[in-house]
Amino acid sequence: MKKNRVLAVVAAVAIATSSFVAFAPSASAACSSKLKIAYQGPLTGPEAALGINELNGVKFALKRFLAANKSANVDPVVYEVDDQGDPAVAGPIAPKVAAEECVVALVGPAYSGASKVSLPVYLSAGLPIITPSATNPTLPDFGKSIFHRAVLTDDYQGPALARLVTSRVKNAKVFLVNDASDYAVGLQKTVDITLAGRVVGKDVTPTGTTDFTATIAKIKKSGATAVIYSGYFSQAAVFVKQLRDSGSKIVFASGDGTLDNQFIKLARKAAEGVLLSAPAIPMETASPKLAAEMVKAGWTPGVYTTESYDAANFFLEAIKAGNTDRASINKYVSTKSSKGLSKVLKFDAQGEVSGADVNGFVIKNGKIVLLGAIKA
């Protein structure tokens, strides 16, 4: 008798589950109101500055699009997804975004770690994405058909960062440090390969490290003439400050994770002369006219604003061409091309873009100054 009751419960649960699955909204459920463009990245948290740069680019693109296409069935408000750049935060949020029927395209995620957990969810929901800044080379494996990237990967940035240092430091002897994040480990790997025999030492300082004494002792003993730090600006600032306070004057270089005005604010004088690379182009360089228009509209362009603007425009062009659901928008961005400010966006089978540059920057008098494309 007892056994039967257990069986009955199991059967009831099974039926309930299967019917729930059957009635769950499918990925292609039609949107009954205006189509939404989403943006995902860190909008609060220590990395928020980058996310806000990108969100502003998306907002600016949407504003210009709606001004030119007044009858377009697109929500004038960007659907904001704040993942704090943290995989642990992104994990629970992604299914909610995927379940929003009217979200038909997503610019982002901004960070590689958060992308790795979000992309499989968007893949199963068929939601097309164009990331303006997640540069880890393995991301197409996670996003497959819905994945597109508007910038070059760390496979390009790493070698360019290495060349930036060797072109400015004669016979450079380089010490490599990374913060153990997905992004930093990937970037450092390619820097390391390019520098080959020039690497004189390495250390890993996981996020949260406050005391760099031992790392600095290693750098000094190695006789390095340059340090390349792979990681994000908040820790890079602490590190470069301690390095300068220890009396060391060797060149400090880092990638796009450090390319942020917050870095200068935190490191102050220690930030002077720091070399940075990014597969991005500032709005002011790409189009001074649009940059001025954006400032007038109340948004300050920053790193990756141009790339986010381009990504959002590609999606909006898809909608303008009559595509109103996720699948057709995905097909449009995967096969057509879009003339952006930073470059012509034309994705290959992996969703990667080509014909773009990695730019070099130097911090001078408290400002990020563009040095130009880093030559091969």
């Binding site: 704090q84 300082t205 406050t210």
Partner: protein
Amino acid sequence: MDFALLRDAFWGLTFDGIALGAIYALISLGYTLVYGVLRLINFAHSEVFMIGTFAALVAASGIMGVKVEDDPRTGGSMILTLLVCLLVAMLASAITAVLVEIVAYRRLRQRGATKLATLISAIGVSISLVELFRIITDSLPREFPRIMEKTFLFSYAGADIRNDKVIVIIAAGLMMFALERFITKTRLGKGIRAVSMDENTSTLMGVNINRVITVTFFAGGIMAGAAAFFYILVYENTSFKVGFFLGISAFTAAVLGGIGNLKGALFGGFALGLMETWTSAVFGTAWKAVISFIILVLVLLIKPTGLFGESIQQARV
């Protein structure tokens, strides 16, 4: 493994390790004092420290008018600024510690709540404070202005001895000495020792338990506030999560030395500071926590009460 680095840069690493250890030791005194009296870990102590760092920041910019882009101060103005920041940080941390006691401990204690309930309420206060500061600071780290030019006083066997770290080591030593005097010589200090020995008997002897506990939290807060100022003087930045990393280290230091024992907390602090710096040099910075905790586990396996045992009664610094 790079033993050559440890050999070549030994004195430099040791000096920096002692400065870091002094900060750990000051924080761990707070853990150990509270444990000695209440037999409870104050999990909100890391936030008592965190608030100290922000108080120093406010003191520097708000009270003393130091701007981050200013040149470092000199002479009397520098000494005054340093002292004001130190005092404000100590006071803010001490007041926070006393409030934590009133909110998270006192009422539960008087109503005879279990130790677990008190533990959870302390963790709750800790999380609330962290989240509060996350919201206030918009999750961004904050920079501390440079009040004092950082210069090398002298070089010894390849070790560059920097002025700010010397100040930290000497001042921390003085603070510890003052605490030792307070615990051993004053009436209130005797009260703390009496309660830690036997709460019931001391009540019968006329010791005001509530006052003793308040004083204990206050003293622990003072030490954490001093640690906060020294930390921000050396590292020049803070964030809402600064207490988490430093708090775990300081708590480890207290357990290593024998929680409840003042001498143990001091020894544990310095030992952990040195161990972290040395192991970072030999195995790489990523390994410092692994090695430090392996050593902690080994010590506890051999001596479960920590190196100096679990007692505040015969407190000696």
